[in-house]
Assembly symmetry: C2
Homo-oligomer: 324 residues x 2
């Protein structure tokens, strides 16, 4: 197995591109894929200040490292979700990464800032944990992005993530979600720009990138995500990918090229609170009466979550895990 670029011994194969790489050229390949993605979807331009949401996992570290190597002005953002030991460990990984590279890091802990955590929010609002978690993170990301006047929020979603989400949305034909499943959402109606620069890299590649770059990341998955349907969507897509390498990329990029524009928000329920997302088709938004975030109802969904979860008796992780 020889490196496609230098013909030296290769360390990793990328089957869907029918290519093998040595360590140095694999790292270069990953950076080039991100660079291409940034341009292709108007994600960022040289000089942009980017707020990188980091979890302690391979993807967020990989995207942060790559954006740094490409010369962007980056700032990490870590949200302490209060998911027991998992959150304690992930926070430590993030701090070690930022400190070791002398990169600026903002930390927001849900418990100390808002007096709740994800397991408790899940219990009191009867939302599945991933839903309570997503709502909380989106709110904090948006707020910190506005506060720091960053050009965009960066998340580490990779090709496998996006293909699995797309698969789930297609299986149920959730036309409103389909319409906004884009790797770049422009700043709109008070919401910051959101970008996913890793959509051309698979999770196997972001893991290999971290290993080859000597990045120490948290391998463990979030304990609340066990049973999450995305895991079975990934398995189903992997079946196809195994037989026809490139299927996953064709599925996701084919969607962006030929299908996403056919879906929009016009069919979605106008009474549903879409305060945590924005598209051109959104109804006119006004500031939430409690936090000032743009929303199409009086009180945004985050503040409604807060009303019920903040100050509630903490619920231990184990109790929620048993439930879902």
């Amino acid at each position: 197995m020889k490196c496609k670029v230098c013909k030296g011994p290769a360390l990793i194969d990328v089957r869907r591109h029918n290519a093998n790489f040595c360590s140095d050229h694999f790292i270069r390949y990953c950076r080039e894929q991100v660079s291409k993605t940034l341009k292709e979807f108007d994600m960022a331009e040289p000089g942009d200040r980017l707020l990188v949401a980091v979890s302690g996992g391979k993807d967020s570290f990989a995207v942060w490292d790559i954006l740094e190597s490409l010369g962007f002005d980056t700032n990490g953002l870590y949200v302490g979700l209060g998911i027991g030991e998992y959150s304690d460990t992930s926070g430590q990984y993030v701090r070690d990464f930022a400190t070791g590279r002398n990169l600026p890091l903002t930390e927001i802990d849900l418990r100390s800032t808002y007096d709740y955590d994800v397991p408790t929010a899940s219990a009191v609002t009867r939302r599945v944990p991933c839903s309570a978690c997503g709502l909380s993170k989106r709110h904090v990301f948006d707020k910190e992005c506005r506060k720091g006047n960053f050009d965009a929020i960066v998340t580490g979603h990779n090709l496998d993530d996006e293909a699995a989400v797309l698969y789930g949305n297609v299986l149920r034909w959730q036309t409103d979600y389909l319409g906004r499943q884009r790797p770049m959402l422009p700043a709109l109606n008070g919401f910051p720009k959101k970008i996913k620069p890793l959509v051309r890299l698979s999770e196997r590649e972001t893991a290999a990138y971290c290993v080859l770059r000597g990045i120490d990341y948290l391998v463990e998955e979030c304990p609340m995500a066990a049973g999450n349907k995305h895991l079975s969507y990934k398995a189903a897509l992997n079946l196809i990918e195994e037989e026809s390498p490139g299927s996953k990329q064709a599925f996701y990029f084919g969607f962006l090229r030929d299908a996403v524009d056919r879906f929009d928000l016009t069919t979605s329920d106008p009474n549903q609170d879409r305060s945590d997302v924005a598209t051109e088709d959104s109804p006119i938004l006004s500031p939430c009466i409690e936090c000032g975030s743009p929303t199409n109802v009086e009180t945004c969904s985050f503040c409604r979550l807060l009303r019920r979860a903040s100050g509630a008796k903490p619920v231990p992780v184990e109790l929620i895990r048993k439930k879902y």
Copy 2:
């Protein structure tokens, strides 16, 4: 396990409907599902004369039997594809079924009528066998339907078939195929009406229906279909269905409800020959100069297949099987 209807001992469970049935009520359930489908998609009305394409497998026998039981005037159509022993056996099953029930059957043998068979057509035109087979069958179906002045051509595609085809079309976002993936295509531009009354029944249900009705069908799959991607699409969908019964039905019927109208033929290549399908967006068609079938080119794709395959030295099944 008790029958949902009569509370007697149940023989079969239908997980996606959370229902169990005894033999009699399962047969009634299958007929009701077909009856509902016929109305829902304007497929057929009492008194319609239907040409049922039969292969010798469970699905085509089930649909023929059900349409008979619902009082339609049916006529079977069997196309001899020349796929070695498989075709010999399937033809015998079809003849036995029709004779045993005293139902009219039309037989068209590709070799004796057109001097070619599917393996040979596949070899000389370098089409995959399923493509050469599909093109041949569509031509014969259309021709016999026009000739006999039937109201529609019936095929036995079940829910699993349609969901797998949809899955394949979505994985590659084949927007033109998506636009015409409907269980009923109206008569248009000289093409007969085409209906798929089994789309509310899974393949496990059509098999059980045949067993309970004492219908002897060919279990063996077509030997040319081995390696066909639909088999892996079915496996991937079954993974999801196993975890969440009803996913497959939600996927297919959600598509028909919320998505199919978003796709059309306007994006398809206008130079591509669409002579074997028709939709409202098709370009204006004129008769094929050789066979008179509607086509958007001078010679329809069937006649072009014929030019190359008819009279060519027969290619044995085994040779094609090795190739694909």
